[in-house]
Symmetry: C2
Subunit: 80 residues, 2 copies
């Protein structure tokens, strides 16, 4: 069983209202000096087998098809 | 300006219906051998200043107060 972590983040230039809301909330809570905040998603995926190259290829296909919207999002895959 | 990445994941044992839905969707798309999937959140936060220890302390406080629900979620902080 291979464990992988997929991190999906918005591309630069894509508006992130959720991140902006967090920025505002942190300021309202008294945290000074907070710059930009961007929110993304993380997926911990388990794949059967021991072939890391195959697993990475499979997970890349999962990202392209389901986990990320590649028009507006980037993704990175890190295998354990 | 210090950049940090905060990763928030559900604690073990906490039900993750979103992760289960992704598992089901991956199976329906024809991906075999997918084990458990868990979904979490990631926040890219910029903090002013150059004192990394202070920045890490501030970000930890942000996690405790706003970014994570520590009853059901774990968080990790990594500074660039």
């Amino acid at each position: 069983m291979i464990k992988a972590r997929v991190t999906v983040t918005l591309k630069n230039g894509v508006l992130d209202p959720q991140g902006k809301a967090i920025e505002g909330a942190l300021g309202a809570l008294g945290f000074d000096g907070v710059g930009h905040v961007r929110q993304g998603k993380v997926f911990d995926v388990e794949v059967e087998g021991t072939d890391k190259a195959k697993a990475e290829g499979d997970i890349k296909a999962m990202c392209e098809k389901l986990l990320a919207n590649t028009v507006i999002e980037n993704y990175t895959i890190s295998l354990d």
